[in-house]
């Protein structure tokens, strides 16, 4: 009887450990300590993975990320410093679509802009700041190698193929954008949960940063701010804002362990679907000029002066 109870006791202890781990994987809700939160009306952060090892020299004695007074915190991971190279992989059928010039012009002109300068307010553990420098480094095409129903793994395979085949260089200072035509879906939640995403993976032994950018023509109500665009192409104009969003998050949180707030929101997340003051261009709304083109690009979070959404910095 006593041995049976002891066995049950040990099993109960194990069960409690498993339960506590599972609980730690649940949603992080708001609590009384929300000094670095800004209400956006968005969803809550979620801890889906175990906490990464704490390497932040700025961490407090308890080993947690040092809370910032600007509404976003640094968690010790690397940033993309110096010039970021942008690569495009045109996935699907882009024949005759003006998006190929509209979005190439975006990548060619976003670096050095007052808008991208917002990212210079972010820095790593050595206090080295992000540079206001983006270089459009080239593109390639992919004719549905992973079918018209892309999975998350399929997106990585597209990037991997472009690199291992030599169509694009292997570049740890690059962000590879998989831009999909309107007949391509991403099955993990494009149009229902997200409009794009970014992550990183090991490709040919290197830590490669890449992003999926869906085509809003597939779901205008979900992924377009307006049904027209300042460049005459609603889908491309919608993708421009999504590209900007994923680019600045890839630069400030490339390995998903650098800059984000206590709900897990990265810089662009905190300002998603906000555009500030706009003007009319070609019968559509725009809010900034990059190069010779007008675009409607969401604002980004400035990591200074208490934190705020803006179209430019300073």
């Amino acid at each position: 009887m006593q041995k049976l109870i002891q066995s049950l006791l040990r099993a109960s202890g194990l069960l409690c450990l498993v339960t506590s781990t599972a609980f730690a994987a649940q949603v992080l809700g708001p609590n009384s300590d929300e000094s670095d939160l800004v209400p956006t009306g968005k969803g809550w952060g979620e801890r889906a993975y175990p906490a990464p090892p704490r390497v932040n020299e700025n961490a407090n004695a308890a080993g947690h990320a040092k809370p910032s007074s600007n509404g976003i915190s640094y968690h010790g991971g690397p940033l993309m410093l110096g010039t970021t190279n942008a690569y495009y992989i045109w996935y699907g059928n882009w024949s005759g679509n003006s998006a190929t010039t509209i979005l190439t012009d975006l990548a060619s002109n976003i670096g050095g802009s007052p808008y991208f300068n917002i990212n210079t307010t972010y820095y790593d553990g050595s206090t080295t700041q992000v540079s206001n420098s983006v270089h459009y480094a080239g593109s390639t095409t992919d004719n549905y190698s992973q079918t018209a129903a892309l999975s998350d793994a399929g997106v990585q395979a597209v990037v991997s193929s472009a690199i291992t085949s030599g169509k694009l260089p292997e570049d740890t200072h690059g962000v590879y954008f998989v831009l999909t035509s309107a007949d391509v879906n991403e099955t993990s939640g494009f149009c229902t949960q997200y409009c794009g995403w970014h992550t990183h993976g090991t490709i040919s032994g290197s830590d490669i940063k890449y992003a999926f950018i869906g085509n809003p023509d597939r779901c205008p109500s979900a992924c377009e701010a307006q049904t027209t665009g300042p460049n005459g192409n609603a889908g491309a104009d919608g993708m421009a804002s999504i590209i900007a969003h994923e680019l600045e998050e890839a630069v400030t949180d490339p390995d998903l362990n650098a800059w984000y707030d206590r709900r897990g929101q990265e810089n662009a997340d905190k300002c998603a679907w906000t555009f500030g003051t706009t003007y009319t261009a070609n019968g559509a709304q725009a809010n900034m000029k990059l190069g010779t083109r007008d675009y409607l690009i969401q604002r980004n979070w400035v990591n200074a002066s208490g934190g705020y959404c803006s179209k430019s910095y300073p």
């Binding site: 506590s20 993975y49 984000y260």
Partner: protein
């Protein structure tokens, strides 16, 4: 003597889970969020998160007028335990306004847009465990009203739903 020792061991067995249950909320509160999967939500997810927040606020404030303005006249709740016996609008309102409990945090929202109908699904914390909620919103002019809510416990991933086995691995990413 043996009975007393056995009783002590049994008492420990019964109290250990309770001790852990009390400590869990503070464990979660002390931990900082990791690089989890946080959506840059679609425009519709943002919209319906705000609608759900309005619902929650009306319930917390016991504001029957505000709550009623968010519901269609024929709103009903259907739960897994009462699939054939919906809870009608008046009964549901009376109960949530009495408890002033709108449920816990909302996460993992997806919104399917079918024109005049939008279907928002999400998980929500609750006293008895997380709940999977499917809200059917009906467009009325420029506004949306909640027409039907389906809700059931989240349950275990091991629970066999026909065709429900995930075949593609999800990779860590941020939206």
């Amino acid at each position: 003597m043996r009975l007393t020792r056995a009783f002590r061991l049994l008492a420990g067995l019964l109290t250990l889970p309770a001790l852990f249950a009390v400590s869990l909320p503070s464990l979660a509160a002390d931990e900082q969020p990791t690089g989890g999967r946080v959506p840059t939500v679609t425009r519709l997810v943002k919209l319906f998160l705000e609608k759900e927040a309005s619902l929650g606020a009306a319930v917390r404030n016991a504001d029957a007028t505000a709550l009623g303005s968010l519901l269609t006249d024929d709103f009903e709740l259907r739960t897994g335990a009462r699939a054939a016996s919906p809870i009608p609008r008046a009964d549901w309102m009376r109960e949530v306004l009495r408890t002033r409990d709108p449920g816990g945090d909302i996460s993992r929202m997806a919104v399917h847009d079918f024109g005049a109908i939008a279907i928002a699904s999400f998980t929500q914390g609750a006293a008895g465990g997380p709940v999977f909620v499917v809200d059917v919103w009906r467009g009325q002019g420029t506004d949306w009203k909640l027409a039907v809510r389906y809700a059931s416990p989240v349950g275990s991933p091991a629970f066999a739903i026909p065709g429900g086995s995930a075949s593609e691995p999800e990779i860590p990413k941020k939206y």
